[in-house]
Subunit: 343 residues, 2 copies
Amino acid sequence: MLYRRTVILKNREITMRDLAEKLGVSTVTVSKALNDKEGVSDELKQKIKQLADEMGYRMNNLAKSMKEGRSYNIGVIIPERFAVEVQSFYFRFYQQITTMLDPYHYSGILHILSEEDEAQDVLPRIYHEKKVDGFILLGQIHANYVEHMMQTDVPIIFLDFYDQHTDMDAVVMDNFFASYELTNYLVEMGHREIGYVGNIYSTSSIQDRYLGYYKSLLENHLQLNPAYVLSDRDSRGLMVDVELPEQLPTAFVCNCDKAAFRVIAQLRKRGYAVPEDITVVGFDNDIYSTISDPQLTTVEVDVLEMSRVAVQGIIGKLQDPMKQIGRVQIKGKMVYRDSVKRI
Amino acid sequence: MLYRRTVILKNREITMRDLAEKLGVSTVTVSKALNDKEGVSDELKQKIKQLADEMGYRMNNLAKSMKEGRSYNIGVIIPERFAVEVQSFYFRFYQQITTMLDPYHYSGILHILSEEDEAQDVLPRIYHEKKVDGFILLGQIHANYVEHMMQTDVPIIFLDFYDQHTDMDAVVMDNFFASYELTNYLVEMGHREIGYVGNIYSTSSIQDRYLGYYKSLLENHLQLNPAYVLSDRDSRGLMVDVELPEQLPTAFVCNCDKAAFRVIAQLRKRGYAVPEDITVVGFDNDIYSTISDPQLTTVEVDVLEMSRVAVQGIIGKLQDPMKQIGRVQIKGKMVYRDSVKRI
DNA sequence: CTGAAAGCGCTTACAG
DNA sequence: CTGAAAGCGCTTACAG
């Protein structure tokens, strides 16, 4: 007899009704108690909570969700190529996002956007199945896809990129200012001939960093030498070897640590030592900045703060779909290491 | 008039009832048609699907889920310390898992298990809220926590680790065999004094790799010299510098590429060249194996296959909770590079 | 082939 | 402070 009951209990999950019947109250009262709402005496509330605990009651959030019409999930979309290339960097974002969503009782569902789906404007399954209430889009995607997504009326925050769409809410690093600051620092250190490494037609980050670098040159009345602006990746975003010119500047501002890491390797092959012969700085403060020899002076992206603003942005839009945060720029942080020489 | 209607439509999502009313059929018929079930004429089915398309209907999966009593989500738990230490490696697993869950209409929800929650046996919110139908646990956690989780009756697959619990379903790399194979290769290359780098009390992976290495020594009648077995991390799993002995073996089998990378750096500081003076091999074929100079001969973990088996395992247990896969071992793959010298 | 009825497990007004 | 009734948007027997 006892055995059979155990088996039966095992096969059916406990519901509010079970708790209600056991205490001789209604499910309404149970619901109120468990959600800490008004209209239940403290005494009864305690009793209900205690019983729920004892019986190992777990709220069925699907029911709650359906009633409220929200899934309590946010889709985090990362384009496939970034998932491969800058994976650890974007993983940190994704981790922060899920962790920061938690207090709002939200979860983050990752969706890797394949190249095909991106090209053909195919929205993720989680969109069609209403499994998410909004999206955070992490990493640059084609303008067409952005357009397509923005037509869906689902709240979207773009993270770590923006494009020409004026009405998009985006959280980006203040690349322009950080690069300007970094280049100013090199000038302070006595450098007058400074090059830039990065495909300036590739992403908005690379472009903005280039422009900040350029502004510093302008302000300091230094020449922008086109021969010193070197591409580091092809049009698809894949890293390629930099073509070093015959004559070199005294310093390179690289658009990311990986590029800096690779440039240092190439310079070494050509017989140059860093920073003795040439100064190299990076961007991102990712793994490449510390495995590099020498370790890189670089700028750290404030992943935590950017994630925080993105999460608050999407939560805000969930409450009021008309709410806009515009383009929020988050300051970077200089990290001084050993790849810069005063000359 | 037109304007008002637009606004109204915007504020309410389209349901099956809307489609049904528009076509003068019942919601039952719409449901059958949209789910490709029997009992609707092909002609009507087509008409319904077309209308759904035109009106931009999106199925409310929450309702479906509630009816079926499953959330169509799998929780992927990664202990905090691994999320930081081996992040890119585990991110690849996580990516594969979510991608492979997709055809089953499942999504993967990541949960980073904090050190505190792990120590205090606090189960994740997604468990208490029934937001997931099962878990894939990625990375070694304390035995207590394993025990606690296994008592919940929620299907669990352990990925990339196992422990003394005999009834746990785990998918692991065949570390023992891979390490045995790798060490045999070094013996073939003429090495007779071979050391091992790794804290053999830290994780089961490190232990098993150590044992495979040991088996190779035994088979080849080589001495296991305790002075050549070096720890690479403290009891909390944090990497520390290896204490190199005065007298060195001719080769080191390292428990992972990062350890190998660090050992090479240390050897270099002591004036040894790799592989000229000493051979070093790694494990995992992760980023450290290619940024290392020389690039590492190592063993690749078959992330794809392991993820596939884990996903199929959890899907299987969803259908039949009694189903067990036991401890499945997935073969690794040798990757030959430049860190081994024939002597 | 088609549909009326009931129900999944909650919450939201509303009434007492 | 407490609860009966209705409803969220589907699906599952069952009846015609």
